[in-house]
Assembly symmetry: C2
């Protein structure tokens, strides 16, 4: 039986040192979308694992390398941690209060791009391992593996293939997912599934060069208009996605899903305050309806559009080229390849064969059973740290590569981590709270110990 | 009777010097849309007029200053030249073969932003005046006024009010417009009217900050979608503008207009080659139908859209803000204020009261009678220079502030200038041909002489 008091005491006393290590990791940009700093960041992560006695490999893929670490422990059981070292782009830069790659402590928080998503999770897990090694005669209670990829923020493009190719190397008995957080009541949440995603860029070219709008306006095709009409054909103000058969494969939520969602707290006012959103779609005002829609509805989101003149004032120009980034979040049952094929068919059938589709990545949705013993272990070990067991969220709106972990490696996947609602992941001023960083490490130490 | 041989000989011998003066003017950026270099450029233009003995005033407006010059001549008749010293933005910069504000001679052409639109026209007129002064004992044959504004490329926002306030100062008997050009057969064209314009920025804000698309995709309004749907409500793929009553005030072209257009050459293949446009709207393939549509059809053109993430790769974000620049080209009879009001009404009635309209400028359409004696003078004096009289174009697709000249000052307005079809106005690698620069100056010298 581990001495959690000793472990917690170690963590409290070494917090500053761990935050220094985290700051060093956050100071290294690793923007997958811009292929910026990936190799350097992978090396740094590998070094951090080596320092803890892990056997480390930095394995190439067709994209960013994957860092795999293994250290034997006292029991035969193996726990796999999945994390990623890549981060979102930092733009818009002018909205950051401190530079995104100069980690800054303010008000009990550490600010930096990637500090919450996902570098803080990586280092907090290493921090828990430090505490275990320190209090357990330099031994880990069980085998621990890490798989830390560098393309999560661009759809984990090469991870599924990587997992297929390294099934033996990654074999384990259970997996702890890259993230976890408390909600606004400080209750830790257990996220048991992810929506899928299909991310595309739609583009159109109507001429070789932009044309004076006084010349071409009434007689030349306009790439911006073509794109607007093509987008409009995908979804109207009723929010119904118009691609033929888009909803056919959706597995509707079960009664159990609804009960789990019902048990979760109200989110409407919280969202309004946090994002400054004025209202919700389709007249929804809150309650279980809003929470069900948030995660179980498939989506079609315009993430960005660029075309023509975008500077100050006016320029009378007819754009020759236009493009839009669009992501589809997939409900359980939908598959990205099928959505991609339906999208092409839809555009062709609606007169938009001139719109090109560039597939930027996709992941199928996947879920873990809430009754799995590993899930229960993770949920219950939280009580000692947070004063309450984790509350189960049957599905989350985000996406990630959990499909190959669940369906290829055959693992139960549970989440545990250091996030909170104000962490501004994917937005300016991304941050973590130091108190939750400490709690996250305490929870991980308990998960490893009990799992062993 | 003027000695055109002496005049032409002067022009041929002093071309290099005039091009140097033009290069100096083009090296001074004067981008109205970005309020960049306006005062400096106005001063430079004023200096150039002063050097020719003009009484010059640089008069303030709420925007860029207007340069007004006057020099008395031998006859009592007064000819007014309208020009502008502002230029379009130079973006996209990477498509320029030489820097836009470093005028460069290549293949008998001078390349620079604004060299054709409209600085080359200004300096070629001063060049003609130099030749007249030199060959006419230092005297001008008639009174000459210049009004050179600095906001033409942003819709001449303050010029109509300026003209109303300075009617006496600008009083004249006829006006030479800022531009003119030969077509691809080298035949000079006489442009007798301009479409109007109403230029707006449409924008929408749905939240204070961009939101992770995994969180907001199914429940938060998306500014990009709102804008796409609002734009789609304005015009569909059939190109019919859906604003209620939009076409009501349009005065259809007359039989005479059609005859003048019929006399003009075919443009279809020329446009395909010049712009790399693949096809024309509404199945048009060329002929008089295409040429009539080009100028007599009112338009609704998306000039640019910006929203969300536009960098490389993916960012899973739901945009909080989106905006589009849109210009409406107005057929004879339409007025910009009315279009603006109809647009607001349309958006409100179609559920888009969340879309804000920022009016960036407008100009009514206006036309001069092809039978006006001044028009005939300008048309016929071209024969001696180009070997053919000018061919009359009853209306052009572009816009400009000719309405107050025609309807406030009561002037016939005719065009004459140095442009050609490859001048790339409003696009990268804007240029003039030196041979046409010389011809333009010769034509202006004849217009002034015969007008006197």
């Amino acid at each position: 039986m581990a001495d959690y008091q000793k472990i917690d005491s170690y963590l409290t006393n070494h917090l500053e040192k761990s935050i220094q290590e985290l700051s060093r990791l956050c100071a290294q940009p690793s923007i997958a979308a811009q292929n910026h700093g990936m190799q350097e960041c992978a090396s740094l992560v590998a070094e951090m694992l080596s320092n803890r006695g892990f056997a480390v490999e930095v394995l190439p893929t067709a994209g960013a390398p994957v860092v795999v670490g293994f250290r034997k422990g006292q029991s035969d059981r193996t726990l796999l941690f999945y994390n990623h070292y890549d981060v979102q782009p930092a733009e818009p830069l002018d909205l950051w209060e401190s530079p995104p790659f100069e980690p800054t402590l303010r008000d009990g928080k550490l600010f930096a791009r990637g500090v919450s998503d996902d570098k803080g999770h990586i280092v907090s897990r290493l921090f828990a391992i430090d505490a275990l090694l320190e209090t357990n005669h330099g031994e880990l209670p069980c085998n621990i593996k890490f798989v830390i990829e560098g393309e999560e923020e661009i759809g984990s493009v090469h991870l599924p293939e990587f997992i297929s190719q390294h099934k033996e190397k990654l074999a384990a008995d259970a997996c702890v997912w890259e993230f976890g957080r408390v909600d606004f009541r400080e209750v830790p949440l257990q996220f048991l599934g992810l929506r899928g995603i299909c991310y595309v860029e739609l583009s159109c070219r109507t001429a070789d060069i932009d044309v004076h709008s006084g010349v071409g306006g009434s007689i030349f095709p306009n790439a911006a208009w073509r794109l607007v009409w093509a987008l409009n054909s995908l979804k109207g103000p009723d929010e119904r996605i118009r691609i033929d058969g888009y909803y056919d494969d959706v597995i509707p939520p079960s009664e159990r899903d609804r009960q789990l969602i019902e048990a979760l707290p109200e989110i409407a006012e919280e969202y309004k305050q946090r994002y400054g959103v004025r209202e919700f779609l389709k007249g929804m005002t809150g309650g279980v309806e809003l929470r069900m829609a948030e995660v179980f509805e498939p989506t079609c989101t315009i993430c960005g559009i660029t075309t023509g003149y975008q500077g100050p004032g006016t320029k009378t120009v007819l754009p020759a080229y236009a493009s839009a980034k669009v992501d589809f979040r997939l409900a359980p049952g939908q598959m990205p390849e099928k959505v991609l094929a339906s999208l092409r068919k839809h555009l062709d059938e609606h007169g938009f064969s001139d719109i090109e589709i560039h597939y930027l990545g996709g992941e199928p949705p996947a879920r873990t059973d809430p009754d799995d013993p590993f899930v229960q272990l993770v949920v219950n070990t939280a009580t000692d740290v947070y004063g309450t067991p984790m509350q189960i969220v049957p599905l989350t709106g985000g996406s990630g590569p959990n499909y190959p972990f669940i369906h290829e490696l055959g693992l139960p996947v549970a989440s545990a981590g250091i996030g909170y609602e104000g962490s501004q992941a994917h937005a300016p001023n991304e941050n973590i709270r130091l108190d939750l960083y400490l709690k996250g490490a305490r929870h991980i130490a308990r998960i490893i110990t009990e799992f062993a």
